[in-house]
């Protein structure tokens, strides 16, 4: 919760303006390679839109490691793989859950929704790991159902989509299923 009050202070205090301006500049600088990583993924998605994927590219590394993409130790392909797995899973979910997630992603992607739903005044791609982390905490403990959906829906989608991949296993010392056999 400390980070939230700090953010509020910055937002309303003189420093806040600086942060927003500074964030904007960082956003510009970062944008180029992000767009490439996301856009150059030739996977055909069933549910996630390009806008959703831009948001997720910021959110996923923080959710998994507490760090922004560049410091998370995750390769861009790994993040893209998480997105592929999430997409395949969401495509198999019931209508109600897909509708809930659609509403959530649409809100997260727009500036208005980002401020209301996430309390984020800067864009996702320029928000710090701490800022995104406090968004997650707020979602987890919110009394609004949509935000609980945001936390519990995205949390399990993201982490299970990562830890079902062999690339993640080496990093945690899991040797994988016992034998390299494919069933009897």
């Amino acid at each position: 919760m400390r980070t939230i009050s700090r953010r509020h202070f910055l937002k309303y205090g003189a420093g806040g303006l600086l942060l927003v301006v500074g964030g904007g500049a960082a956003y510009q600088a970062l944008q180029h390679d992000w767009i490439l990583e996301v856009e150059h993924d030739s996977h055909s998605f069933l549910f996630l839109t390009l806008d959703d994927r831009f948001v997720l590219f910021s959110l996923v590394p923080v959710l998994l490691t507490g760090k922004r993409k560049d410091h998370s130790g995750l390769a861009p392909e790994e993040i893209n793989q998480v997105l592929h797995n999430m997409d395949a899973t969401i495509a198999r979910l019931p209508d109600r859950t897909r509708a809930e997630l659609r509403k959530l992603f649409d809100l997260m992607g727009g500036a208005f929704g980002r401020v209301c739903v996430a309390g984020l005044w800067t864009s996702w791609s320029s928000a710090s790991a701490e800022e995104i982390g406090s968004v997650l905490i707020r979602w987890q403990s919110s009394v609004l159902e949509l935000l609980n959906v945001a936390y519990y829906g995205l949390h399990s989608l993201v982490v299970t989509s990562h830890y079902c991949e062999a690339d993640s296993w080496t990093r945690i010392g899991y040797s994988g299923p016992p034998h390299p056999m494919r069933g009897g």
């Binding site: 829906g153 982490v159 299970t160 299923p177």
Partner: protein
């Protein structure tokens, strides 16, 4: 296969029709339609097929075979679980795991096979007026299904994840025991939750379903029973929706199965949902109510030694020391078992994100996982949840966690912590959003006493959905009678875990097997009485006129 208007070219192998491959509608006929192919449906299918009764089994999930099981959680959750393993109660507070494939939850379950506790059976008879459900009544049925599914206590040494439970319990002088399992030639791989890759687990997928098919039963996979055909107080079959390869309804094509007798075996949540969608008579609004979960909490221990809880049979040691701690109707008791530590499952259940999540994942090898399954439904303060339908006619479970249950959770946290420290844990972790790692029993005791327990902060899950079509003598308090027969609709039966009037206090599969074997055989004898083998065949071939319905 006794079908009308079905393009037989679509039957991919003898007795199996994959509805996702259909491009036109069809009507099929049967003596008995069974909806759901899990513990209840599988046992019924074999019992009836053995009597030459023509059976069609409808299953919403895919027909995966042993050779299809990749051992990877990635495919398993997508292919074999409801909502890819991410199902939750309405307020998101409780995660729910249920199998959705031929074999139902038995295809993915962890093989623990316990008889129903006698306390539970006595409570059912006394409180709900059940007849034929005493321990003596059920004993021959338990004997029979235990033999059929090769159920016996697990003799090889438990893996370290389970051995720690035994060590902790022994150090504290608690009772504990060895888990009986339904396996034949188990290689101790520990992948039960992803579908057994060598066919050792004696799930419905490798036992009763193939046997029923050999005897002439038809299995329609990837077809969801949308609603029952009800007319003038009796059931006449069901309308099915074929699903596409993503498991979503293809609303353009409709299948129908006509049968003079229908057994609903779609499991907890699934069975009441079907009855609700069909507008089944329900004057007292009982359908879907009294749905129980064995709400389950997790405590993990960071051990000084390697645990590798992903390897070896997942559940081989248990403790019932606190199951009846305060009498049957007293404070909520719990069973202690092990949590299989598969990385994806483990990551999804963990009440953390970011750096902390990652560091727990990095300690996966040294982590012991204990789960405490709380028995719900034995007290007025434990009414269970209610299954309803959303705007898309899809089920949703509303389950309120109240103070009565939180008291049980607190005791479960306390005892599991005590047990893990007694077994030598360096520190323990309650799977609660606000709990830090606790480094001593004294610290844990104090912390747990003051911990605020509330939904969403407290990690809760269930792999045991029960009730929702509860069984009882009184039509004002129950949906079906002691035979599994619906109180208001003729020839409509419910035979699966949804007919339990409370939870069990133990893992449910064996109870479902025994009850299903009993009810299916008794049903067959009532509707197709004492036939000579010739007459039996006749009646089976001539369902409407021949059966005494």
């Amino acid at each position: 296969m006794g079908s009308d208007g079905v393009n037989l070219g679509m039957v991919s192998e003898k007795g199996h029709l994959d509805a996702s491959e259909l491009d036109e509608g069809a009507v099929l006929e049967a003596d008995v339609l069974i909806i759901g192919s899990g513990a209840g449906g599988g046992i019924c299918a074999e019992a009836l097929a053995e009597r030459n009764i023509r059976v069609v089994v409808v299953e919403e999930g895919p027909f995966k075979k042993t050779a299809d099981f990749t051992m990877r959680e990635k495919e398993a959750f997508q292919d074999l679980y409801f909502e890819c393993g991410g199902r939750r109660t309405k307020d998101k507070a409780i995660g729910i795991f249920q199998g959705r494939a031929v074999g139902g939850s038995t295809t993915v379950n962890w093989t623990a096979s316990f008889r129903t506790p006698e306390q539970t059976l006595r409570y059912w008879s006394n409180e709900f007026g059940l007849s034929g459900f005493s321990a003596e009544d059920l004993a021959p049925w338990f004997d029979r299904v235990e033999k059929r599914l090769n159920i016996s206590p697990w003799l090889p040494a438990p893996n370290e994840n389970n051995a720690i439970i035994a060590r902790g319990a022994a150090a504290l002088d608690w009772s504990y025991g060895t888990v009986p399992r339904n396996v034949r030639g188990c290689a101790d791989l520990g992948l039960c939750g992803q579908g057994c890759p060598i066919g050792a687990k004696q799930s419905m997928l490798v036992t009763t379903i193939p046997r029923a098919m050999e005897l002439g039963a038809t299995v329609i996979s990837r077809a969801r029973a949308a609603r029952l055909l009800l007319r003038q107080g009796r059931v006449e079959g069901a309308v099915l929706e074929p699903l596409d390869s993503l498991g979503r309804p293809k609303r353009t094509i409709q299948l129908e199965v006509r049968a003079p007798l229908v057994i609903v075996a779609a499991g907890g949540i699934g069975s009441p949902a079907l009855l609700l969608r069909s507008a089944t008579p329900d004057p007292d609004r009982l359908i879907g109510s009294r749905t129980f979960l064995h709400p389950t909490v997790v405590v993990t221990g960071a051990m000084p030694q390697q645990v590798a809880g992903y390897r070896g049979a997942p559940q081989t040691v248990y403790s019932d020391h606190f199951l009846w701690r305060d009498g049957i109707e007293g404070r909520m008791g719990f069973k202690i078992e092990a949590l299989a530590i598969q990385p994806s499952l483990f990551s999804g259940l963990m009440m953390r994100h970011g750096a902390e999540h990652q560091s727990f994942m990095q300690r996966i090898n040294d982590t012991q996982g204990s789960i405490m399954l709380l028995r719900d439904g034995f007290n007025e303060e434990s009414p269970g949840g209610r299954v309803g339908l959303d705007a898309f006619d899809y089920p949703e479970l509303d389950y309120t966690v109240n103070d009565y249950l939180w008291e049980g959770v607190r005791e479960a946290y306390l005892r599991a912590s005590e047990m893990l420290f007694a077994a030598g844990a360096n520190n323990i972790q309650l799977w609660h959003f606000d709990a830090p790692s606790l480094t001593s029993w004294t610290q844990a005791k104090q912390f747990i006493a003051n911990l605020q327990l509330k939904p969403l902060s407290t990690g809760l899950f269930s792999a045991h959905v029960m009730g929702g079509c509860s069984m009882g003598a009184d039509p004002r308090r129950s949906v079906v009678d002691s035979r599994g027969a619906h109180h208001h609709v003729k020839n409509l039966y419910v035979i699966d875990g949804s007919l339990f009037p409370t939870s069990l206090g133990t893992n449910p599969q064996l109870t479902i097997y025994a009850i299903a074997a009993k009810l299916a055989n008794e049903l067959a004898e009532r509707h197709w009485p004492a036939p000579s083998s010739f007459q039996k065949r006749e009646s089976a071939m001539n369902p409407i006129s021949g059966a005494s319905l």
